[in-house]
């Protein structure tokens, strides 16, 4: 803001030059100056000034004074200055530059506090008030200052990594039953009192972390490992939040703890593989049971189908036997009818048919009364003869 004005006035008004030199913006102009000028100015001003400009006037406005001086001096000055003369500021520029510089300085007191912020304003280093959202004004730059603090938004302090962090980076803490748990947690907190937050404790964010670690440690020390994993976590979180709030309040940190959330809890790193094996074992166990269930179902299904086959076979056998019996009975009925009509003839016919059927397919040996074979069968030695079965009912069919 101020740089362009300084640039213009540096030639005509050395007062500003000296003054601004103190502020230290000399580094910035060179980009806009013609090449050799800016460094030559301090050194070059010296040879230029001696030509007896000194006695008369302190007041500014170089050009007007030049009119009244001898031509030789003017020529000399012109020759020395040459192209530089057009850089001489117009007379009106100086007060404008002063005014603008003052205005710019005054404007440094304007500040904007965002909707979720509070501004802690100081005047000469002393607390002057807390400003809400919107535009505000404090004393210009070094005299007044504002520090903006986010008050509406919750801050997160993450300890021991989040959900994705490995067990190695978590806090390893003792549980009530003497086990070691690895815990990762988050503290949600807000700035409740911006002035206290900035003024009472140095590095309050770090204090939140340090106190939270111990608060969680104390809280976890009161629940068992099993409860920490399932069921008892909320109580530990609640207790840790209370402890942490007490610690921060004792320090006057101006911080309100909204929640302590234990995001991950498990066994300490060295015990973790064995712990993970439990769920693998549960899977294995379930797989064993499932396989056995499948086997049982299959065995039952096999037995059922086998049983169905047995039953079907029995039914088929029954059907066959019944139909066989029926067929036989039908033939018997036919034979019986014939027998009733003519018993003798039928009996001998049946007898003959039967013997015919038997003897047609059998090897026969006819033996005489002395036991000698009349029709020797091939390879058959004479055998003991037993009488043929006699047809039932009578001695011999006639």
């Amino acid at each position: 803001m101020q740089a362009p004005f300084i640039l213009k006035s540096d030639r005509g008004s050395p007062r500003f030059m000296a003054r601004n030199d103190h502020h230290g913006p000399w580094g910035s102009p060179p980009a806009e100056e013609p090449g050799p000028e800016p460094p030559a100015d301090k050194t070059g001003a010296r040879p230029r000034v001696p030509p007896r400009r000194s006695p008369p006037s302190r007041p500014p406005a170089g050009p007007t004074r030049l009119d009244g001086v001898g031509r030789r001096v003017a020529d000399e000055a012109r020759r020395l200055q040459d192209g530089l003369s057009r850089w001489g500021p117009p007379p009106a520029a100086i007060p404008i530059a002063i005014a603008a510089a003052l205005l710019g300085w005054a404007a440094s007191g304007v500040y904007l506090v965002q909707a979720d912020q509070a501004g802690v304003v100081t005047r000469l280093g002393a607390f002057a008030g807390v400003a809400g959202p919107g535009l505000g004004y404090h004393l210009p730059a070094p005299l007044g200052a504002v520090q903006k603090v986010s008050v509406a938004r919750a801050n997160e302090t993450v300890v021991g990594g989040g959900d994705t962090a490995g067990a190695a980076s978590r806090e390893v803490v003792l549980t009530a039953d003497g086990n070691l748990a690895a815990v990762g947690f988050v503290v949600d907190w807000k700035v409740k009192d911006p002035r206290a937050y900035l003024r009472n404790v140095r590095h309050p964010d770090g204090l939140v972390q340090v106190l939270a670690e111990d608060a969680v440690r104390q809280a976890v020390a009161r629940v068992s490992f099993g409860d920490l994993l399932v069921g008892g976590r909320a109580a530990a979180e609640e207790r840790a939040a209370v402890t942490l709030q007490q610690g921060l309040a004792a320090a006057g940190a101006g911080i309100e703890v909204e929640a302590v959330r234990i995001r991950s809890a498990g066994p300490a790193p060295a015990a973790a593989p064995a712990f993970d094996d439990i769920s693998a074992a549960a899977q294995d166990s379930a797989a064993d049971r499932d396989a056995a269930g499948d086997r049982s179902k299959k065995a039952l299904a096999d037995a059922q189908s086998q049983g169905a086959v047995v039953i079907a076979q029995a039914e088929a056998t029954r059907a066959q036997a019944v139909s066989q019996a029926q067929a036989e009975v039908a033939r018997f009925a036919g034979a019986l009818a014939a027998w009733r009509a003519n018993p003798d003839l039928t009996r001998s016919r049946i007898y003959a048919e039967t013997l015919e059927a038997i003897l047609a397919h059998s090897r026969k040996i006819v033996v005489d009364a002395h036991g000698v074979a009349i029709t020797p069968s091939q390879g058959t030695a004479p055998v003991q003869v037993r009488p043929l079965p006699t047809p039932p009912g009578d001695k011999a069919p006639r």
Binding site: P14, R15, A18, R19, D21, H22, R48, R53, R58, T122, L124, G125, A126, L143, A176, L180, N200, V210, R217, Q218, A251, P267, A268, A274, F275, D277, I278, A281, S285, D288, A291, A292, R295, S296, L300, Q304, Q306, V310, Q313, A314, R318, A321, A325, Q326, F332, W339, P343, I350, E353, T354, I358, L359, A360, H361, S362, K364, V367, A369, V385, P387
Partner: protein
């Protein structure tokens, strides 16, 4: 004119340099020790004086100290509980620099202060923890322990004239010693392994039970079917018997003859029998002796 302007510039420059070297602000959260040629001469308390302050340019330098509460957290202390269990412990201390001159004279910087405070904290934590049982330390209210540690640290700091006021000491980060921690983890791992083994064994046992039950169910199903088949066979006998009885009952004499003939046909007509016939048998009667002509 140029010379005059230069003189003005030089004057302003000198005034500016002098002003910058001799004026300073003490913010409310700072206390500033003015050092003259390396020796502390006075303190400007930002909380008390909020105006531009003066110092001698060039000869006076400033050390800015915080007026706020400062804190320091240290861990890795070893301790033993009253009932003899070794522990690892830490401590958090909250303090303020209340005697800035004394602070600058005795320690000079916060880093040096931390170096001085750390062993004091370790000793205080050790002594405070030695007064409480392991259970009290771990699961109990720590207020008494913290109070003891605070008193001890306070005494030490006062004796050492550190220029600070110890506001709070909190024993923290209570943990088992590294070797005990390893032992605990090994025990836990063993427990978990046992649990896993038991789970697997249970799964196997359950699987065996399920298998046995399944086999029993299968056998029962088969037995049921066999029983049903037997019933069918019985029924078959009954039906067949009924059929024969109804039919053969009409003439038992003929039925016996007919049935025997059927049986002979079935048993003897398969070609396996060798039949020895006597020429005297009625069957060969006509073969041997034709009937007499009429």
């Amino acid at each position: 004119m140029r010379r005059g302007a230069l003189a003005i510039a030089a004057g302003v420059l000198v005034i500016g340099v002098l002003a910058a070297g001799s004026l300073f602000l003490a913010p409310q959260d700072q206390q500033i020790v003015v050092m003259r040629l390396g020796a502390p001469v006075r303190v400007v308390d930002g909380g008390a004086s909020s105006f531009l302050q003066l110092k001698a340019p060039f000869v006076d330098s400033l050390i800015r100290l915080d007026r706020r509460s400062l804190w320091l957290a240290r861990d890795g202390f070893s301790a033993v509980s009253a009932d003899g269990r070794p522990l690892a412990a830490g401590a958090i201390v909250r303090y303020r620099i209340v005697d800035a001159l004394g602070f600058v004279r005795s320690v000079g910087s916060e880093r040096a202060l931390a170096d001085r405070l750390t062993p004091m904290l370790g000793a205080a934590a050790h002594a405070a923890l030695a007064s409480a049982s392991y259970q009290q330390i771990l699961g109990g209210d720590r207020a008494a322990i913290d109070g003891k540690a605070l008193a001890l640290t306070r005494d030490e700091a006062q004796a050492a004239r550190l220029g600070v006021a110890i506001d709070a000491v909190q024993v923290a980060d209570i943990a088992p010693t590294p070797s005990e921690g390893e032992a605990i983890q090994a025990r836990m791992a063993q427990g978990f392994s046992g649990e896993a083994d038991q789970m697997r064994d249970e799964g196997k046992a359950q699987a065996r039970a399920i298998d046995a039950k399944g086999k029993a169910a299968a056998a029962e199903a088969l037995a049921q079917a066999t029983g049903q088949a037997a019933a069918i066979a019985t029924d078959q006998e009954a039906q067949v018997g009924r059929i024969y009885a109804q039919s053969f009952g009409a003439d038992p004499g003929f039925a016996a003859f007919w049935r025997s003939m059927e049986a002979y046909r079935k048993t003897l007509a398969d070609g396996s029998a060798v039949l020895v016939l006597s020429p005297d048998s009625p069957w060969l009667r006509y073969l041997v002796r034709p009937p007499p002509g009429r």
